[in-house]
Symmetry: C2
Subunit: 354 residues, 2 copies
Amino acid sequence: MSDLKNDRFLRALLKQPVDRTPIWIMRQAGRYLPEYRATREKAGDFMTLCSTPDLACEVTLQPLERFELDAAILFSDILTIPDAMGLGLYFEEGEGPKFKTPIRTAKQIENLPIPDPEDELKYVMDAVRTIRRELNGSVPLIGFSGSPWTLATYMIEGGSSKTFSKSKTMLFNEPKLAHMLLGKIADSVVSYLNAQVAAGAQALMIFDTWGGNLAHHMYSEFSLNYMKDIVSRLTRENDGRKVPVILFTKGGGLWLNELADSGCDGLGLDWTMDITKARQMVGDRVALQGNMDPNTLYASPDVIRQEAARILAAYGNGSGHVFNLGHGITPDINPEHVAALVDAVHELSEQYHR
Amino acid sequence: MSDLKNDRFLRALLKQPVDRTPIWIMRQAGRYLPEYRATREKAGDFMTLCSTPDLACEVTLQPLERFELDAAILFSDILTIPDAMGLGLYFEEGEGPKFKTPIRTAKQIENLPIPDPEDELKYVMDAVRTIRRELNGSVPLIGFSGSPWTLATYMIEGGSSKTFSKSKTMLFNEPKLAHMLLGKIADSVVSYLNAQVAAGAQALMIFDTWGGNLAHHMYSEFSLNYMKDIVSRLTRENDGRKVPVILFTKGGGLWLNELADSGCDGLGLDWTMDITKARQMVGDRVALQGNMDPNTLYASPDVIRQEAARILAAYGNGSGHVFNLGHGITPDINPEHVAALVDAVHELSEQYHR
């Protein structure tokens, strides 16, 4: 495999010196891009787009052709694992993801298979291999998975939820069952992420989208502990370079100290946390990724530039910051506004790396 | 007006000694109670229920007849103020509240009236007077309002929102306009809450349901500052007793220190914050209210009892804690489970007040 032409993203996650702050954008390959919508239409439906390596590669590369981003992220969905476990993922127009067979009983959990990443999930690994080849060393490729708790909520609820009442009822009333389920998911995530690294992923990110909805004492037990376990079992080298791991609990600002001790290299920050305080709190333990409110991209290019300047200044001098939004970009954003953000980070961040 | 037979709630908020930890439940008069559903059906629709003082009184008292709660809370809605400003509140089945005329322009904001609480909002004051009379001094009555930021989101979006993109775009692109709107809402809230106190409310609570969605630096400027301003202008005495004020920013755990300096008496805590840490952080500045995950009520009565015990122990000895959920009770909760919680708090809290 070829050498990396731009390793700013990997270096920043390891707190090694960089010339400027790297930037990528959560959901950068997404509906806000007209070229994405065209490929999506060609594919017919979302899961066909995910499961056709050439199309997944095509949309992964689209934002990099438009903007000077410092990383690519595999185009896929966090629900590939439960789907491969046989839950029957489907999407209802305007309703988000659903599962035909939600998981509620001990018997169902016992019978859940650990998917073979080169069999049921081979389409993901093929996408990773295709994207790595097409990137040709221009920027690193990020692989990813959902966290066990986040995946479990969809599996137990049978889809999205506002309150997570069914999943939380299991945590309260049948904690052993919940642990059995979370353990199986964690094993699947380890095997899935390690296969992504073997297929070419150069960094990994675990999305704990719903961890921030757990009560304080339950977050450690039911979400963080499983992410820690996963991190300890991941392949951390590829092509002779360290594979950094980023953990992102949305709404996890209150648990930053515990997250910084998880063994990961970087922490995703949403926009509610002051990045100055966050940096003081985590010290040299981890790098930080974030933390612009995705709604900032609705603002005018001038305001976007001011906000980028504010966040860069709030992080301050030195490496260890990957610029990003604090959550995925929304579908109705003007791509010109993304260009304004990327330019601003390029131009304004050099002063912090002299 | 008669003396209070049970002033545990007021005393706890002022950190005065109590015999046991007081408890009330956010949205205690709500759809989980069959008697509420019956009155709601009799009323026909939600706004008729809110705007008919006898019916509002009826549902306010229902949970107190079932459970030994230590406070009543006025049955109303946070959107009464924008409705009285002429935005045309209506409810679409299963869609939440909507406004016929969302607020987007300077002209609209300039023309917004400050509602007269004894005119357009007289039905609320009549409800307060009726409830006070019917309570007959059994427990104190809490009056309430939404926070300016929370009300502004509904007014700008025209209803509920997941991302608050329109409201945040105003904050970013037209901050002066946003401040004009928030200032008018704050004036209305002050007049509304002071009228509730004049009508008989013995404590006040401000619900900042959406403050926790603001970026760190924007929370102070656009939400907290307006709540501080309101608190400084409230009538703080009724029947010769102090009227305590509770501020509740859902998801506000990261701003607890700033909230504790706001001049209020109590802070509502959702379930993501460790109440032990919260107490250490706020010290003697304020009392704390919360912080059980509302989903706990889906658990078995035994687990509910364990969780109540855990939270009481985590707060520890002494006054200054009002037991509550960290957000409103959901409609599909079994009322027997609420009884189990109330009993547990009664029985298990005495040991912390000897």
